[in-house]
Protein backbone atom coordinates (compact mmCIF):
# COMPACT_ATOMS: atom_id res chain seq x y z
CA UNK A 1 0.00 0.00 0.00
CA UNK A 2 1.42 3.29 -1.06
CA UNK A 3 2.38 5.57 1.72
CA UNK A 4 1.29 9.15 1.18
CA UNK A 5 3.25 11.87 2.95
CA UNK A 6 1.62 15.21 3.69
CA UNK A 7 3.30 17.67 1.33
CA UNK A 8 2.92 21.42 0.56
CA UNK A 9 0.70 22.38 -2.30
CA UNK A 10 2.30 22.22 -5.72
CA UNK A 11 2.08 25.98 -6.36
CA UNK A 12 3.38 26.77 -2.92
CA UNK A 13 1.80 28.39 0.11
CA UNK A 14 0.49 31.99 0.06
CA UNK A 15 2.89 34.64 1.22
CA UNK A 16 2.69 35.40 4.88
CA UNK A 17 1.81 39.06 5.49
CA UNK A 18 4.29 40.03 8.12
CA UNK A 19 4.05 43.78 7.40
CA UNK A 20 1.14 46.00 8.23
CA UNK A 21 -0.65 47.22 5.17
CA UNK A 22 -0.37 50.98 5.79
CA UNK A 23 1.52 53.57 3.76
CA UNK A 24 4.94 54.65 5.13
CA UNK A 25 5.01 58.26 6.35
CA UNK A 26 7.67 60.95 6.13
CA UNK A 27 10.77 61.34 4.06
CA UNK A 28 13.38 58.82 3.19
CA UNK A 29 16.07 58.35 5.85
CA UNK A 30 18.71 59.93 3.62
CA UNK A 31 16.61 63.06 3.37
CA UNK A 32 16.21 63.18 7.16
CA UNK A 33 19.97 62.80 7.51
CA UNK A 34 20.55 65.52 4.95
CA UNK A 35 18.22 67.84 6.80
CA UNK A 36 19.99 67.10 10.07
CA UNK A 37 23.36 67.89 8.58
CA UNK A 38 22.12 71.07 6.92
CA UNK A 39 20.48 72.42 10.02
CA UNK A 40 23.34 71.68 12.33
CA UNK A 41 25.82 73.14 9.84
CA UNK A 42 23.82 76.35 9.78
CA UNK A 43 23.70 76.37 13.57
CA UNK A 44 27.42 75.84 13.92
CA UNK A 45 28.06 78.52 11.32
CA UNK A 46 26.03 81.00 13.34
CA UNK A 47 27.76 79.94 16.57
CA UNK A 48 31.16 80.48 15.02
CA UNK A 49 30.12 83.88 13.70
CA UNK A 50 28.82 84.79 17.14
CA UNK A 51 32.00 83.63 18.84
CA UNK A 52 34.08 85.70 16.48
CA UNK A 53 31.93 88.72 17.12
CA UNK A 54 32.20 88.12 20.84
CA UNK A 55 35.96 88.05 20.52
CA UNK A 56 35.89 91.31 18.60
CA UNK A 57 33.76 92.85 21.33
CA UNK A 58 36.28 91.79 23.97
CA UNK A 59 39.11 93.14 21.88
CA UNK A 60 37.29 96.42 21.48
CA UNK A 61 36.85 96.72 25.23
CA UNK A 62 40.50 95.88 25.81
CA UNK A 63 41.59 98.42 23.22
CA UNK A 64 39.43 101.12 24.78
CA UNK A 65 41.20 100.53 28.09
CA UNK A 66 44.60 100.43 26.46
CA UNK A 67 43.87 103.81 24.89
CA UNK A 68 43.16 105.28 28.30
CA UNK A 69 46.12 103.68 30.03
CA UNK A 70 48.72 106.43 29.42
CA UNK A 71 46.27 109.09 30.53
CA UNK A 72 45.44 107.32 33.76
CA UNK A 73 49.02 106.43 34.49
CA UNK A 74 50.17 110.02 33.94
CA UNK A 75 47.59 111.24 36.41
CA UNK A 76 48.50 108.54 38.91
CA UNK A 77 52.22 109.28 38.58
CA UNK A 78 51.70 112.94 39.33
CA UNK A 79 49.62 112.05 42.36
CA UNK A 80 52.13 109.53 43.68
CA UNK A 81 55.01 111.91 43.20
CA UNK A 82 53.13 114.70 44.95
CA UNK A 83 52.32 112.53 47.94
CA UNK A 84 55.78 110.98 48.13
CA UNK A 85 57.48 114.36 48.10
CA UNK A 86 55.10 115.57 50.78
CA UNK A 87 55.84 112.48 52.84
CA UNK A 88 59.60 112.88 52.61
CA UNK A 89 59.35 116.60 53.30
CA UNK A 90 57.35 115.86 56.41
CA UNK A 91 59.88 113.26 57.45
CA UNK A 92 62.76 115.70 56.94
CA UNK A 93 60.90 118.34 58.91
CA UNK A 94 60.30 115.95 61.79
CA UNK A 95 63.84 114.51 61.83
CA UNK A 96 65.76 117.73 61.19
CA UNK A 97 67.34 117.64 64.66
CA UNK A 98 68.86 114.22 64.11
CA UNK A 99 72.06 114.84 62.19
CA UNK A 100 72.70 111.30 60.97
CA UNK A 101 69.18 110.84 59.64
CA UNK A 102 68.89 110.32 55.94
CA UNK A 103 65.54 110.66 54.25
CA UNK A 104 65.15 107.80 51.87
CA UNK A 105 63.10 104.73 51.39
CA UNK A 106 64.21 101.79 53.49
CA UNK A 107 64.32 99.29 50.68
CA UNK A 108 65.53 101.57 47.93
CA UNK A 109 68.71 103.27 46.86
CA UNK A 110 69.01 106.91 45.94
CA UNK A 111 68.95 106.24 42.23
CA UNK A 112 65.56 104.67 42.16
CA UNK A 113 62.27 106.28 42.86
CA UNK A 114 60.28 104.22 45.28
CA UNK A 115 57.20 105.71 46.88
CA UNK A 116 56.97 105.17 50.63
CA UNK A 117 55.07 102.11 51.64
CA UNK A 118 53.78 103.85 54.72
CA UNK A 119 50.77 106.08 54.46
CA UNK A 120 49.93 108.51 57.20
CA UNK A 121 46.22 108.54 57.57
CA UNK A 122 44.15 110.95 59.58
CA UNK A 123 40.66 110.72 60.78
CA UNK A 124 38.19 113.09 59.24
CA UNK A 125 36.23 114.61 62.04
CA UNK A 126 34.00 117.60 62.41
CA UNK A 127 35.55 120.28 64.56
CA UNK A 128 32.16 121.48 65.64
CA UNK A 129 30.83 118.01 66.23
CA UNK A 130 29.61 116.82 69.58
CA UNK A 131 30.92 113.97 71.64
CA UNK A 132 28.78 111.34 69.94
CA UNK A 133 30.67 112.12 66.75
CA UNK A 134 33.74 110.72 68.45
CA UNK A 135 35.18 114.17 68.80
CA UNK A 136 37.14 115.89 71.45
CA UNK A 137 37.59 119.64 71.37
CA UNK A 138 41.03 119.28 72.93
CA UNK A 139 42.35 117.42 69.94
CA UNK A 140 42.59 120.56 67.87
CA UNK A 141 44.57 122.57 70.36
Amino acid sequence: MAHHQDLPPVQGYDKIQWKRNIPSRGFRPTIWLGMLITMSSYGFYKIIQGNREQQEISREKLQARINLLPLLQAEQDRDILRRSLAYYNREAEIMKDVPWWEVKHTYSDKNEFHPPNTVLVGKQVDKDGLFWNANSKDRYN
Binding site: E53, I57, R65, P70, A74, H114, V119, Q124
Partner: protein, 182 residues
Protein backbone atom coordinates in the same frame (compact mmCIF):
# COMPACT_ATOMS: atom_id res chain seq x y z
CA UNK B 1 48.83 101.02 39.19
CA UNK B 2 48.76 102.67 42.55
CA UNK B 3 51.45 101.65 44.95
CA UNK B 4 50.25 103.76 47.81
CA UNK B 5 46.96 104.55 49.39
CA UNK B 6 45.54 107.60 47.73
CA UNK B 7 42.20 107.53 49.42
CA UNK B 8 41.82 111.22 50.01
CA UNK B 9 38.16 112.03 50.26
CA UNK B 10 38.42 115.20 52.24
CA UNK B 11 34.81 115.79 52.61
CA UNK B 12 33.04 119.09 52.32
CA UNK B 13 29.74 117.94 53.69
CA UNK B 14 28.54 117.67 57.22
CA UNK B 15 27.22 114.21 56.60
CA UNK B 16 30.49 112.54 55.69
CA UNK B 17 32.35 114.58 58.28
CA UNK B 18 30.27 113.02 60.93
CA UNK B 19 30.70 109.52 59.63
CA UNK B 20 33.09 107.63 61.80
CA UNK B 21 36.34 106.23 60.48
CA UNK B 22 36.37 108.51 57.50
CA UNK B 23 40.05 108.66 56.79
CA UNK B 24 42.19 110.77 54.56
CA UNK B 25 45.82 110.79 53.61
CA UNK B 26 47.97 113.38 55.38
CA UNK B 27 50.23 114.00 52.41
CA UNK B 28 48.16 116.37 50.41
CA UNK B 29 50.64 119.09 49.50
CA UNK B 30 50.93 120.58 46.06
CA UNK B 31 53.63 119.55 43.66
CA UNK B 32 56.73 121.78 43.85
CA UNK B 33 56.69 124.97 41.79
CA UNK B 34 59.28 123.81 39.27
CA UNK B 35 56.92 121.15 37.99
CA UNK B 36 54.41 122.89 35.73
CA UNK B 37 50.82 122.60 36.70
CA UNK B 38 48.39 120.70 34.53
CA UNK B 39 44.68 120.45 35.01
CA UNK B 40 43.68 116.86 35.57
CA UNK B 41 41.25 115.26 33.17
CA UNK B 42 38.47 115.12 35.74
CA UNK B 43 36.18 112.83 33.75
CA UNK B 44 34.58 109.62 34.90
CA UNK B 45 34.68 106.19 33.28
CA UNK B 46 31.75 106.67 30.92
CA UNK B 47 32.96 109.80 29.12
CA UNK B 48 36.54 108.54 29.08
CA UNK B 49 35.59 105.21 27.54
CA UNK B 50 33.30 106.96 25.10
CA UNK B 51 36.12 109.25 23.99
CA UNK B 52 38.92 106.69 24.27
CA UNK B 53 39.19 105.83 20.58
CA UNK B 54 39.17 109.51 19.59
CA UNK B 55 41.78 110.20 22.24
CA UNK B 56 43.90 107.47 20.72
CA UNK B 57 43.37 108.85 17.21
CA UNK B 58 44.51 112.34 18.11
CA UNK B 59 47.06 111.59 20.86
CA UNK B 60 48.65 108.41 19.60
CA UNK B 61 52.11 109.99 19.36
CA UNK B 62 51.97 111.46 22.84
CA UNK B 63 50.66 108.21 24.30
CA UNK B 64 53.33 106.09 22.64
CA UNK B 65 55.98 108.56 23.69
CA UNK B 66 54.83 108.39 27.29
CA UNK B 67 54.66 104.61 27.37
CA UNK B 68 58.09 104.28 25.75
CA UNK B 69 59.49 106.69 28.32
CA UNK B 70 57.98 104.58 31.08
CA UNK B 71 59.48 101.48 29.58
CA UNK B 72 62.93 103.02 29.29
CA UNK B 73 62.95 104.48 32.78
CA UNK B 74 61.48 101.58 34.69
CA UNK B 75 60.58 102.58 38.20
CA UNK B 76 62.05 106.04 37.68
CA UNK B 77 59.40 106.66 35.04
CA UNK B 78 57.20 108.27 37.66
CA UNK B 79 59.74 111.09 38.03
CA UNK B 80 61.29 111.23 34.58
CA UNK B 81 58.17 111.02 32.42
CA UNK B 82 56.26 113.92 33.96
CA UNK B 83 56.70 116.06 30.86
CA UNK B 84 55.35 113.37 28.55
CA UNK B 85 52.55 112.73 31.01
CA UNK B 86 51.54 116.36 30.94
CA UNK B 87 51.37 116.27 27.16
CA UNK B 88 49.19 113.17 27.32
CA UNK B 89 46.80 114.77 29.76
CA UNK B 90 46.58 118.04 27.84
CA UNK B 91 45.92 116.21 24.59
CA UNK B 92 43.18 114.10 26.13
CA UNK B 93 41.64 117.19 27.71
CA UNK B 94 41.63 118.89 24.33
CA UNK B 95 39.77 115.94 22.83
CA UNK B 96 37.17 116.06 25.57
CA UNK B 97 36.83 119.84 25.20
CA UNK B 98 36.35 119.50 21.45
CA UNK B 99 33.79 116.76 21.90
CA UNK B 100 31.90 118.98 24.29
CA UNK B 101 32.15 121.91 21.94
CA UNK B 102 31.09 120.19 18.71
CA UNK B 103 29.24 116.98 19.49
CA UNK B 104 27.89 117.59 22.96
CA UNK B 105 24.50 116.01 22.35
CA UNK B 106 25.82 112.79 20.81
CA UNK B 107 28.65 112.53 23.31
CA UNK B 108 26.29 112.86 26.24
CA UNK B 109 23.94 110.36 24.70
CA UNK B 110 26.71 107.82 24.28
CA UNK B 111 28.23 108.09 27.72
CA UNK B 112 24.83 108.03 29.33
CA UNK B 113 24.16 104.87 27.38
CA UNK B 114 27.49 103.43 28.54
CA UNK B 115 26.69 104.30 32.13
CA UNK B 116 23.29 102.74 31.69
CA UNK B 117 24.61 99.51 30.22
CA UNK B 118 27.56 98.70 32.46
CA UNK B 119 30.14 100.24 30.08
CA UNK B 120 29.43 97.72 27.34
CA UNK B 121 30.01 99.18 23.88
CA UNK B 122 27.82 96.49 22.35
CA UNK B 123 24.74 97.89 24.02
CA UNK B 124 25.30 101.35 22.61
CA UNK B 125 25.93 100.85 18.90
CA UNK B 126 23.27 103.32 17.83
CA UNK B 127 24.45 106.13 20.07
CA UNK B 128 27.99 105.29 19.04
CA UNK B 129 27.13 105.47 15.38
CA UNK B 130 25.68 108.96 15.81
CA UNK B 131 28.73 110.04 17.80
CA UNK B 132 31.19 108.60 15.30
CA UNK B 133 29.47 110.36 12.40
CA UNK B 134 29.42 113.68 14.20
CA UNK B 135 33.03 113.42 15.36
CA UNK B 136 34.26 112.42 11.94
CA UNK B 137 32.44 115.33 10.34
CA UNK B 138 33.43 118.03 12.79
CA UNK B 139 36.76 116.88 14.29
CA UNK B 140 38.00 114.48 11.61
CA UNK B 141 38.73 111.79 14.20
CA UNK B 142 37.79 108.23 13.36
CA UNK B 143 37.43 105.21 15.57
CA UNK B 144 39.50 102.23 14.59
CA UNK B 145 40.38 99.00 16.36
CA UNK B 146 43.82 97.80 15.31
CA UNK B 147 44.03 94.22 14.13
CA UNK B 148 40.36 93.56 13.56
CA UNK B 149 40.99 92.48 9.98
CA UNK B 150 38.58 94.98 8.48
CA UNK B 151 35.72 93.60 10.54
CA UNK B 152 34.58 96.91 11.92
CA UNK B 153 32.36 95.70 14.67
CA UNK B 154 31.19 99.19 15.62
CA UNK B 155 29.69 100.11 12.26
CA UNK B 156 26.05 99.79 11.34
CA UNK B 157 24.98 96.32 10.27
CA UNK B 158 28.19 94.56 11.31
CA UNK B 159 26.70 93.08 14.42
CA UNK B 160 24.86 89.86 15.11
CA UNK B 161 24.14 90.52 18.76
CA UNK B 162 21.48 92.99 19.61
CA UNK B 163 21.39 94.79 22.93
CA UNK B 164 19.52 92.75 25.49
CA UNK B 165 18.48 95.83 27.37
CA UNK B 166 18.56 98.74 24.94
CA UNK B 167 19.01 102.33 26.00
CA UNK B 168 15.80 103.82 24.71
CA UNK B 169 16.74 107.52 24.46
CA UNK B 170 19.64 106.71 22.18
CA UNK B 171 17.60 104.24 20.12
CA UNK B 172 14.99 106.93 19.66
CA UNK B 173 17.56 109.53 18.69
CA UNK B 174 19.05 107.12 16.18
CA UNK B 175 15.69 106.39 14.59
CA UNK B 176 14.94 110.10 14.42
CA UNK B 177 18.29 110.82 12.77
CA UNK B 178 17.70 108.02 10.24
CA UNK B 179 14.26 109.39 9.46
CA UNK B 180 15.59 112.90 8.99
CA UNK B 181 18.44 111.81 6.76
CA UNK B 182 16.23 109.56 4.62
Amino acid sequence: MSTSNTYDNISTSNFTDKKRDTQYVFENDKLPEEIPHVKEIGATTGPLLSASFFIQDRCKDFNDDFMLCQKENGSNGTVNCLKEGRKVTRCASSVLADLNAHCKKEFEMHYKCLNYSNMEFKNCRKAESLLNDCVFKSLNLAKSIPGDGGREIFKDGNQIFKPIHPHFPSEKAYDLAKKNSA
